[in-house]
Symmetry: C2
């Protein structure tokens, strides 16, 4: 099987590569070719070095999608995106990458199918940002998509296109609406959502972290480990039972900041929790107030997607996967 | 006020022009310039001939949207579309006109606003085709948009773009999700939905009409007169109370084919009803089974949009507007 990963140098791309390196048969079929694409050339995993083509390319540039698809990959994982804050700041860049890049990919697949039958599996990274306030207390699978950001708009349009191209038989699409990933590994970043991870990740290595919102702020989470699990399952599952509504809100965990902190206390102790510094930021508090707090995720669970159900497990997954089992500075 | 109507040669475009001709102050401000665009040059209404520029142009052709917007119209009514059946048959044409044409218009407005402040009102014709089965018994304003046709997908994407461009302050957008228009004036056409109008319009002039489905088939309707009323209201209303969810399911009337026929009997008599010939067509029956049957339309009604509440009124509106008050061959 030839696997193409677009946006492979990003956080989820790297974690997905770690997973298939550790479990080379996790996709059900042997991988005999791996193409990795990102704006900077991604690092090939040592286990797959001989069969990997790593390419620096911009998906939205003319001809890039067609060139990638001309090699007829069987499975395409589409992770490339300008994320939320940047898409809101740079309107043109967001539309270029998130909308036109995705359109270019879909069109390349449709047109390649005219040369000879071709119907790859395409797994699309969407986001709960497709939803906008006011919300129902729990967002069901039937709840309307009214995004309140350009990023959310672009992801919602990507979902609609994916569904229509799938319905027409041009590809086998499946869209994964990811919860906010927590604990996001790496350095603290400036995303408005960053503190949800920072207040756990930094104290776990003995560093201070800033909490800009109240402890009663509630949000919707899953671990990087579960997120990778979603992409693995979406790559291998039978799509028959999914029906025409192929974009699925993933399972996750609804938790308040206070619950995050109590989980940290249970897993890592009081001294770790003391490293969280409260510096209220009304701007961040206001942004976060417009975010979804709880999803039903019924269809995704029925279709075999799974995620952590308590925050202690999310923290333990981070300690195992990122800290080699050790807590402390 | 300069009014631009795109798709002005179509059914709703012509009816809208009839309305402003009959009631020149219905838009609140005096119209001092009228630009009419369609793939064939629309006919200027005699009342506005001296201030009308009628143009044959394809909205999706390069440069057309920018040329139209360079004249800085205050109110833009965007009716141009490849309709449902054709968009399903001709995938490329549907995307070109319904998606790229709409995108080109939005982008032209955004870019014109860079030259000098510009924020026109844009009224967008959407459709209940943005919804796909399975439905709730009554579709609320919170119900998810999962279209099952390329046309519905393109309209849903147009809605999302309109909302994002409005949120960013590039324009004042409002989207009108039209019910199926009944009685559609003119000749019978090949649209799968055509029979809903044919079985009334043809008997009312003494002609036979074919009914291809069961009498218990239910659907969601409004008259051309109400549809024009929606566009008038959307052109003039205060958008403040609408909030960010600017795409509205219009009020309408849920009725079965049997109820249509009984209304025809009440308004025009038994002999007229006898002109309906039952010729079951399983293909049409199957298509229609996937269509929405009933909407709540609560927000639109609260915001002042109104429509007929019984089918007798829909038939009487047709007799008044199209038949000069007379029934019969
Ligand atoms: N992490 C989350 O909490 C989260 C939540 C919801 C959705 N998502 C989505 O999941 C996907 C992956 O997320 P992530 O956390 O790994 O993000 P990331 O930013 O770490 O990775 C995205 C990658 O896409 C690449 N990219 C951007 N523009 C590109 C272009 N034009 N051509 C090729 N590559 C390009 C970037 O260089 C980056 O490496 C994204 O689509 C994101 O929108 C993530
Ligand atoms: N009539 C209905 O039942 C109904 C229901 C829901 C939505 N709508 C929508 O309302 C709008 C008007 O409907 P209508 O019944 O008047 O349809 P119509 O087909 O009579 O009119 C549409 C007009 O758009 C024009 N057009 C098509 N492509 C164009 C292009 N590229 N550039 C410029 N003009 C172009 C056509 O020539 C036509 O005159 C459409 O957008 C339609 O999708 C109609």
């Amino acid at each position: 099987m030839h696997v193409l990963i677009i946006g492979a140098a990003g956080m989820i791309g790297r974690k997905f590569l770690d997973r298939i390196s550790a479990e080379p048969d996790v996709l059900g079929q042997e991988i005999d070719k791996l193409t990795l694409v990102d704006v900077v050339a991604p690092t090939a995993p040592p286990e797959f070095e001989s069969i990997t083509s790593s390419q620096a390319a911009d998906l939205a540039d003319a001809g890039v999608a067609a060139r990638l698809i001309a090699t007829r990959p069987d499975l395409i994982i589409h992770l490339a995106a300008v994320v939320s804050g940047e898409a809101e700041m740079d309107f043109e860049k967001g539309y270029r990458v998130n909308l036109e890049g995705t359109q270019a990919l879909l069109e390349a697949i449709r047109l390649e199918g005219r040369n000879a039958p071709y119907k790859p599996r395409l797994v699309y990274a969407s986001s709960i940002a497709v939803y906008g306030a006011p919300f129902a207390p729990t967002i069901s699978d039937d709840f309307a998509l009214y995004p309140l950001t350009s990023y959310g708009t672009q992801k919602a349009i990507g979902e609609l296109l994916l569904a229509d191209y799938s319905r027409k038989g041009f590809l086998e699409g499946i869209g994964i609406r990811l919860p906010t990933i927590c604990i996001r590994p790496g350095k603290p970043n400036k995303a408005a959502s960053g503190f949800f991870s920072n207040i756990l990740r930094e104290p776990l290595v003995g560093q201070e972290a800033v909490l800009p919102v109240d402890e009663n702020v509630r949000h919707w989470f899953t671990s990087p480990r579960s997120a990778v699990g979603f992409f693995v399952h979406a790559s291998t599952m039978d799509l028959g039972p999914v029906g025409p509504r192929i974009n699925l809100s993933m399972p996750g965990l609804s938790a308040t900041v206070g619950e995050e902190i109590e989980a940290l206390r249970r897993v890592a102790g009081d001294d770790t929790v003391k490293l969280i510094r409260r510096v209220p930021d009304p701007a961040i508090q206001a942004i976060v107030a417009g975010w979804a707090t709880n999803f039903e995720g019924r269809r995704a669970r029925e279709l075999g997607f799974t995620a952590e159900t308590d925050f202690d497990d999310i923290i333990r997954a981070h300690i195992e996967d990122e800290l080699e089992g050790r807590v402390g500075g």
